[in-house]
């Protein structure tokens, strides 16, 4: 029981009250983002990479944008990418979206247990991949499938993982989309939010200890920034001046909780950076060019021993959290349409068209081509099985890799499981 009799409250004192953040719109409301302050493209200054972290304060409350209303790349942050790079980015983003749609559908068809899309956020992973070296290492969340696509990881491999089938290099052990691929610099995704963020810092510390030149990039969602791991990452990165790029993908939702529940009413996620003495940037995550430019800048800082950078990518989670989620239970169904920063694919396409490098026909031909490739990959993957057919063969494999060498107790359990599966 509360140890205080309310009658004992000091009468001359204001009553305290708990503030519980509420998102601006709930189901039934008409979403209206006109209150959002969206700076014009090209407005953000681009400091030299040697900037003192505290002097990035303005950039942590701003919104760094490169693509303007006429789809031109403007301002000092224009990364001046050549058309081929732009086209590859566009193609990768389209591939990701098609892939997501196919796999979402596969889950709905009962071919696997779970799926997560990154719709509306494709620019972030794809452009970050374009900005870093192929040898740099990512510690991603489940919404950076774009890194794998951009780095050319075979789609069939991804799908086999999703189906937990015979082609799954993870032997059916992981939930769908929890990819891992060392050769593509993509660290094993964890189901435990936030854990990867300080791991990225550790990897980059190792690279620095060894006098290597590779850097790491850590990823985290807006909601997950509340975990202690976020703080570990920031603290270690600051203390040892670690060559790491730390990215917060602020898609404004964490399942049903809006970003205010992670603190966004009080400060931007980028602002956290300056508190630690880390450089910070806040970037329009639906602007592939801005994303690429920001990651390049941060990478240059890291690579020249100037230390870590925290980048907030401001975006919007256009669809449900996962196949287990129905967002109509907590936000207006048309909210994603009202979202003013647009669709990253449309924006990059329009930029290429404005450059005279692209047109609608090429876009739809490319989309068809990507669609065919995704479908072919799916066909290939499904030859190796879908989830409902799995879990019966090679039961012994379930006991491998707990340790490098199987100890006696696990060997005994394997034998028991094998006997059980054979009905012995």
């Amino acid at each position: 029981m509360s140890d205080r009799d309310p009658s004992k409250l000091k009468p001359n004192r204001p009553k305290l009250a708990l503030h519980v953040p509420e998102p601006p719109f709930r189901p039934g409301d008409t979403p209206d983002f006109s209150h959002l302050q969206i700076p014009a493209a090209g407005e953000a200054p681009r400091p030299d990479v040697t900037v003192a972290p505290a002097d990035t304060h303005g950039l942590t409350t701003h919104l760094l944008r490169v693509l303007d209303e006429q789809h031109r790349a403007v301002g000092p942050w224009d990364p001046r990418l050549d058309p081929d790079t732009l086209k590859k980015m566009l193609r990768d983003m389209v591939t990701v979206r098609i892939f997501d749609d196919r796999m979402y559908r596969a889950q709905r068809q009962g071919k696997t247990s779970f799926y997560m899309k990154c719709t509306g956020e494709e620019a972030i992973a794809v452009a970050a991949a374009a900005a870093l070296d192929r040898e740099d290492m990512h510690f991603p969340t489940y919404r950076q499938q774009g890194l794998l696509v951009a780095r050319g990881y075979p789609l069939t491999e991804m799908m086999c993982q999703i189906y937990s089938n015979k082609g799954d290099k993870l032997h059916g052990r992981q939930l769908p989309i929890m990819y891992s691929d060392k050769a593509h610099g993509f660290f094993s995704i964890s189901g435990n939010l936030g854990t990867q963020f300080p791991q990225a810092v550790g990897w980059a510390m190792a690279s620095a200890i060894k006098g290597d030149s590779r850097i790491a990039m850590g990823w985290i969602g807006d909601g997950a920034t509340a975990e202690g791991d976020f703080h570990s990452a920031m603290t270690f990165a600051a203390v040892y001046n670690v060559p790491v790029v730390l990215a917060v993908v602020n898609n404004q939702w964490a399942i049903s909780s809006f970003s205010g529940i992670a603190g966004a009413e009080r400060a931007t996620f980028a602002q956290r950076a300056v508190g630690y003495g880390i450089a910070g940037l806040r970037v329009d995550g639906n602007d592939a060019l801005a994303v690429c430019a920001a990651v390049r800048w941060a990478a240059e800082r890291a690579r020249t021993n100037l230390g870590p950078t925290l980048i907030e990518f401001f975006t919007y989670r256009a669809e449900g959290h996962s196949t287990s989620d129905d967002p109509s239970g907590y936000r207006p169904t048309n909210e994603s349409k009202a979202w003013p920063l647009g669709d990253p694919i449309e924006r990059l396409k329009a930029h290429l068209i404005a450059l005279g490098e692209w047109n609608e026909e090429r876009q739809s031909a490319m989309a068809d081509e990507c669609d065919a490739i995704v479908r072919a990959a799916q066909k290939e993957a499904e030859k190796l099985g879908i989830l409902p057919q799995q879990g019966k063969d090679d039961i012994g494999s379930m006991f491998e890799d707990v340790y490098a060498d199987m100890p006696w107790h696990i060997a005994e359990q394997r034998d028991a499981a094998l006997a059980e599966s054979k009905g012995e």
Binding site: E22, F114, L175, G191, I261, Y330, V402, E420
Partner: protein, 334 residues
């Protein structure tokens, strides 16, 4: 009622009776929780008493400690038991020890609820059964219901308890009991007598097991989902087992266990968790310590394997009918 509805009802009853009960956790406010256990609470009791928390299990438990120190009774949800570890320090070092270290000056009445266990194709981070990591910690009570009726009664008892309770909910049986035959259609709770749940206040006392099947041939100790798997296996094999649903792991109903094992002379303990250092080890140790001269065969354990929970091998991992059958045979034949 199904188990979710029963848990929801326990919240409502207690929030209405006790203005010091507050409920928070990830996604539990407006949305009502990813399993909908807290649905409607925010609407009914307001957002000062029912609110979403940041994704910080450590922060959830820590602020609950502060609230309990103030005099409130926090009932918090950890979205999945697999995500309880960031809150482990606050639970082990603080929640469990504050009454003791302050010689009772401060108590920590709170309930930490969390869905646990496998059987839903959740992979290694939506399937864990970490109960033994809490049964080892003096100062915590650990409760695991197996029916809607018990879930509501135990949760109310837990909220009313003066001490902190870790309340693990077997998510596989939220919507219906599960006999372990994953290839058969799911039975809803409606057909089970324990789905008769009174609307109002009642308690199922902590620390008391339930003999859910009387029998003479052996004693089977289980909790959570495994109670149903065990019951089905016993019926299928036609063994006259006495099945005890422990319901509370700490403090354990040792009297019920001893009485049964002294009668049957044989004992099988069942857990879904990995074998080594699971709670079944404590049960086996206790039974052989206290009933050794009544035992006709060793206490056997049916358990999950000492591996992470593997996604596609769910049913090869889960201690289902075949594993039960083999163990029953072993206990009986030895």
């Amino acid at each position: 009622m199904n188990m979710i509805q029963a848990i929801n009802s326990a919240h409502k009853v207690m929030m209405a009776r006790d203005p010091d009960v507050v409920v928070f956790g990830e996604d539990i406010g407006y949305f009502g929780g990813v399993f909908r256990a807290t649905e409607g609470l925010q609407r009914e009791f307001g957002s000062s008493r029912v609110f979403d928390s940041p994704i910080s299990e450590g922060g959830i438990v820590a602020t609950a400690v502060g609230m309990a120190a103030y005099g409130l009774k926090p009932v918090v949800e950890i979205q999945f038991a697999d995500y309880i570890y960031p809150g482990y320090d606050q639970i082990v070092s603080e929640v469990a020890k504050i009454r003791y270290r302050t010689a009772g000056e401060w108590a920590m009445p709170m309930v930490i609820r969390s869905p646990y266990g496998g059987g839903i194709f959740g992979g290694q981070t939506h399937s864990q059964s970490p109960e033994s990591l809490f049964t080892h910690i003096a100062g915590l009570k650990v409760v695991i219901p197996s029916t809607p009726h018990d879930a509501k009664g135990l949760l109310i008892a837990a909220i009313e308890d003066p001490d902190p309770v870790i309340f693990f909910e077997p998510k596989r049986i939220y919507n219906g009991p599960f006999d372990g035959h994953h290839d058969r259609p799911v039975t809803p709770w409606a057909k089970h007598p324990a789905s008769e749940v009174p609307d109002g206040h009642y308690t199922v006392p902590l620390g008391k097991a339930a003999v859910v099947r009387k029998g003479e041939a052996l004693t089977l100790l289980a909790y959570g989902t495994m109670v149903h798997v065990a019951l089905a296996a016993v019926e299928e094999q036609g063994i006259d087992a006495e099945v005890i649903d422990l319901r509370t792991l700490v403090p354990l109903d040792i009297a019920a266990i001893e009485a049964s094992v002294e009668k049957t002379g044989r004992c099988l303990v069942v857990q879904e968790a990995p074998r080594t250092s699971g709670f079944g080890a404590e049960l086996a140790a206790l039974v052989q310590e206290r009933c050794f001269y009544h035992l006709e065969s060793p206490v056997e354990r049916v358990t999950g394997w000492d591996t992470p929970y593997p996604h596609s091998y769910e049913w090869a991992y889960f201690p289902g009918p075949k594993r039960m059958q083999k163990a029953l045979e072993k206990v009986m034949s030895d």
